[in-house]
Amino acid sequence: MARITAAAFTSHVPAIGAAMDLGKTQEAYWQPVFAGYEASRQWLREQKPDVVFLVYNDHANAFSLDLIPTFAIGTAADYPIADEGWGPRPVPPVKGHPELAAHIAQSVIQEDFDLTIVNRMPVDHGLTVPLSLMCGERPADDFRWPFAVIPFAVNVVQYPVPSGRRCFELGKAIRRAIESFDEDLNVQIWGTGGMSHQLQGPRAGLINREWDNAFLDRLIADPAGLAAMPHIDYVREAGSEGIELVMWLIARGAMADIAGGPAPRVKHRFYHVPASNTAVGHLILED
C-alpha cells in the first residue's frame, strides 16, 4: 500500500533556480538561503521517496489565458522543462508516475473535486526550484531526479483562486486516494510557493516576517483554523503573490493527524529574507 511519509513546504523563487544554474550559491547574498536547505537535502537522501506529489502553480508557462484550470493533475510519463523567457533551466526532465496519478485523479474526482487531467505540460520554476532546492545540483553522470513526480498545478494567477478550505479538503481526499493505491510506495507531498511577496505595482517588495512565521506556526499546530483564513488576508498581509500559500494547505491536509492520526514531527524549519523579492519559508513535517 502506498503511504504518505512526510510533507515538505518551500518557497519556489525563480531567482533561487537561477542562482544554482549560474553557480552563485556560495555568494554572500545566496549562501544563507542554501544553508537553510542543507539539512533537508541530507534528510531527503535518507528518506528515498519513490514519488513526490508536488503542489505548485504554473506562472503563465504551461497555461495561457486560453485555458485556466483551477486544479490540474499531471498523469503523463514525463514533463519537459518550460522556457519561461530566459531559456529552459538546465535541469533534468521530470519523470511522472502515470499509474498513481491516474489513480488519484479517479479517486478525488469521484469525491467531487473537479480536476483537470493533463498529459502534456511543460513544468516551470514553481516545480523545478523546489526539486533543485531539495535535491541539490544533479551530477552530469546521473542527470535525473531521484524520484518520480506527480505535478499538481493550482490556479493562483487569475482570481478567483480556490479557497484555503477547499485546498485543505482536497488534501484530505488526496491522502485517501494515495492510501488506497495497491503498490507499496513511499510518497511525499510537497506544498510550494510563498511566503510573503508582491511582484507587482507600487507596493512590490512587501515582506511580512511576523505574519509568515505565524503562518508557519499555525500550519504546524492549527492547520484547520488556518484553512479558514480568507484570501484578502493573504493579499493584505503577505502581498499579492503571497496568495500562493493557500497551496501549502493541500499538502498539510494530506497528513496523518488530519485523518485522526498523531501529530507530525517538525524535522526542519527555516526562514530567510530576502531571495530576490521574496521571503523564503521552509518546513519539513514527518508523519
Binding site: 489565458l65 507600487p202 512590490a204
Partner: protein, 136 residues
C-alpha cells in the same frame, strides 16, 4: 449585485481577476509568445512590427514599448505574463518588480536586503491616504 471585490482596498496593487483578464487578453497572449527564442528574436528586431501582429490596443502597445509595467498592469497585464518581456530584455524579476515602485534599482535592492517593504502602513488605501497627508 456585482461580485464583492475586497481586494480593491489594497494600495498599489492590481488583482488579476476576470475583468482584468478580459481587458488584457491579447496583451498577455503577446507576452506568452515570447516563450520561444525565435519570437524573442523577432520582437527584439522590430518591436512595433511584432506588436502589430497582435490584437492589442494602441495604449497596450505603447506601454510595452515604454516598458511601463504599471501601465501594462492597469491595461490588463498580469505580472507573470509581463515577466516574459523582462526576460526578453535580460532583466531579473527583481529589476522588473523594482521598476514599478518608483525606487531606483539600487534603492529597491537595499530595501529588500533590509527586510522588504513593511506591511505596516501598506495594508489599505486609507494607510496610503494617511501617509500622503502626513507628507504634506
Amino acid at each position: 449585485m456585482p461580485l464583492h471585490k475586497p481586494y480593491k482596498d489594497i494600495p498599489g496593487t492590481t488583482i488579476f481577476d476576470a475583468e482584468q483578464s478580459r481587458l488584457g487578453y491579447w496583451l498577455n497572449q503577446f507576452c506568452m509568445s515570447l516563450m520561444s527564442a525565435e519570437n524573442r528574436a523577432r520582437f527584439k528586431a522590430d518591436e512595433r512590427a511584432y506588436l502589430d501582429e497582435w490584437a492589442m490596443t494602441e495604449d497596450q502597445k505603447q506601454a510595452v514599448i515604454a516598458r511601463d509595467l504599471n501601465r501594462c498592469l492597469a491595461l490588463g497585464g498580469n505580472i507573470y505574463f509581463l515577466a516574459k518581456i523582462g526576460a526578453t530584455d535580460g532583466k531579473s524579476f527583481q529589476q522588473m518588480a523594482g521598476s514599478m515602485t518608483g525606487l531606483s534599482e539600487e534603492q529597491y535592492r537595499q530595501m529588500m536586503l533590509a527586510g522588504g517593504r513593511p506591511a505596516e502602513g501598506n495594508r489599505s488605501l486609507a494607510d496610503w491616504e494617511n501617509r500622503k497627508k502626513e507628507t504634506l
